[in-house]
Symmetry: C2
Subunit: 337 residues, 2 copies
DNA sequence: ATTTGGCACTCTTCTCCTCTGAGTGCCAAG
DNA sequence: CTTGGCACTCAGAGGAGAAGAGTGCCAAAT
């Protein structure tokens, strides 16, 4: 249906349009790529490509621009992920290796991605579901207020204040802390509810109220409502890529956690890249943007996702290479800690 | 030098320009404000104001626009901070009261400020220097890796990974943890170095290396290098306020921690508002923006700062009212926890 | 001494027009 | 199937003109 030359023409159109940001015409194409045929032939091919919906003209007498469908074909069949240069790899490695805690890893990652791709980077904090409990701490911070701190094996620290509504003795706290640690040490977060189901019955009557309160907060914060945290960086890059959509709408969308979550998509196989192009995006305001995302994690299990967002007219091979590389290195760093 | 009417004219110019976003002419002024004089008189006054540098014309036959100096006079002498409505106050209160930990307080605050002022909000995390140590936790997360967690009385949790470069026994860790807590409980963060100066000498020889390492990380993370964390929100509002500067430059500036730090200014009296207008700003790219900031904190001591950034052409009385109100409520929340 | 109406003047901005050129589609010939 | 030729279309640049907002200044009025 589309012979090799037509595909080559589509590829050339995408590449030229991405680099020049201007509709590309038949003459320019034969000049810049040695296709061995005349502009007229290219025009015929273009007509076919347009009919099939891979390219479009902004107005009658302009060159062609790839459609979302065209980019899709390009990404799926006409391009290969472009590996980073050695220098880039080394830069990533050392930059990430210097991070000193989880927050720092994430914030460095987001900056790195933004710089490397010159686009908006989005990084999700490592999910809790794949982690296990390293330590639970219960600290009084006021007479009727406790701080619950859970430290996981991925180095993430989760904290939550607890209102006890009545004074609590230090012994009761110490006892509960010991109990929690004994029960939970090494426990997968997903198993926490089971491990603690009978906790209130295991303590003396006067500690029961406390135990129940703490338990509910713990479950809520860690399991049910593990609201994933996401940070973004390189928003300034949006301003360079003059989107046809109002920039404001895009910025607004990026401030909503929910949108960001859906943007990155489901956590899946870390070795595969998700590319969502233009209208394939879940959100209205992101119709003229594309997202390249992937999972990352310690080992081969993805614990969270990261990616970048840019205009549909982006350098897909390069972006995909950068995203993949960064995800790999972050995984290594996480596995190493 | 400037009689009352000229000041009234300046005030009217600022108010009109802020609401219309267009240079204001003499006729429009007498129409919208009942100044009781003719346009010609206003023109004379305007000529004087312009000569003194309070207003300027974008081009010869346009109305007048306030200069930075004009805004400055307006803020200092011609306007009063506009208190929020009762409904707004209640909304702030309930919105903040529902926060469940420090992170949440800060993130709610930044969203609140951005929404209330329709500008970019900037909030600094409560500083550590005014806090005291509530608890120190030392947790092994790998054979040669510890996690140091410090919980302060403001509910902030500081964490840092430590490389020990040699296996450490659980007893050594427990011992050190007990020692640290005994020494530091309730200790002001500024006093931590003194309190721990002789720590290495107090432990047995085989724990000394560990103690030294932990100590240095602790001091570094808490005292010397308490890099203040700042978060921003409402960046989308920037796009609405079409700045004459390239939006990109502003976004870029806002991504740099250092710039943000200087933007908010020195922590001072929480009851006073800092307004920095246009070129009074420390950063080149923020020449067309103004910052309204103030300190906030539990009680009457400021522990950090917050504020908003917007075009110089902003509603100063309203913005100042919102910033002040939010700062107060956040202070209450922090004091209550 | 200040205020005021009148008036000429200056610019920006909007609209309308034309012209140019890139790029196309189509056709007939190779 | 490819190619050169050619007429056609249309966005965008550039220019002229008109409109309109606003000013500065002056002489008269208060």
């Amino acid at each position: 249906m589309l012979d090799d030359r037509k595909l080559a023409v589509l590829r050339a159109i995408v590449e030229d349009y991405v680099s020049t940001h201007e509709p590309v015409g038949s003459k320019a194409l034969v000049d810049r790529h040695n296709l061995g045929v005349s502009p007229a032939t290219i025009r015929n091919d273009m007509a076919v490509l347009e009919e099939q919906g891979y390219i479009a003209q902004p107005h009658t007498s302009a060159g062609r621009v790839p459609t979302d469908k065209g980019y899709r074909l390009f990404v799926d069949r006409l391009s290969t992920i472009k590996p980073l240069s050695g220098a880039e790899r080394r830069a990533i490695e050392t930059f990430l290796a210097n991070a000193y805690d989880l927050d720092d890893v994430v914030s460095r990652t987001v900056r790195l991605l933004a710089q490397l791709t010159r686009q908006v980077a989005v990084v999700q904090y490592p999910s809790l579901t794949r982690s296990s409990v390293r330590h639970v701490e219960l600290v009084p911070i006021a007479s009727e207020r406790l701080l619950l701190v859970v430290i996981t094996n991925t180095g993430r620290v989760e904290q939550r204040a607890i209102e006890t509504h009545e004074p609590v003795s230090d012994e009761a706290i110490a006892h509960l802390r010991a109990l929690l640690n004994a029960r939970l040490d090494g426990c997968w977060l997903t198993d926490v509810p089971d491990a603690l189901a009978d906790l209130p019955e295991q303590v003396s009557a006067d500690e029961r109220a406390l135990a129940t309160t703490v338990l509910s907060v713990l479950l809520e914060s860690l399991v049910e409502k593990h609201e994933e945290k996401i940070i973004i960086g390189g928003a300034a890059n949006l301003a360079r890529a003059d989107l046809s959509q109002s920039l404001r709408d895009v910025l607004e969308a990026l401030e909503e956690q929910v949108v960001l979550m859906r943007l990155l998509g489901e956590v899946g196989d870390p070795s595969s890249l998700t590319v969502r192009i233009g209208t394939e995006n879940p959100h209205e305001s992101l119709r003229t943007t594309s997202v390249v995302a992937t999972g990352y994690g310690a080992g081969d299990q993805a614990v969270a996702r990261l990616g970048v967002l840019g205009p549909t007219r982006m350098d897909y091979p390069g972006t995909m290479g950068a995203v993949r590389a960064v995800a790999r290195y972050v995984g290594q760093i996480l596995a190493g800690s």
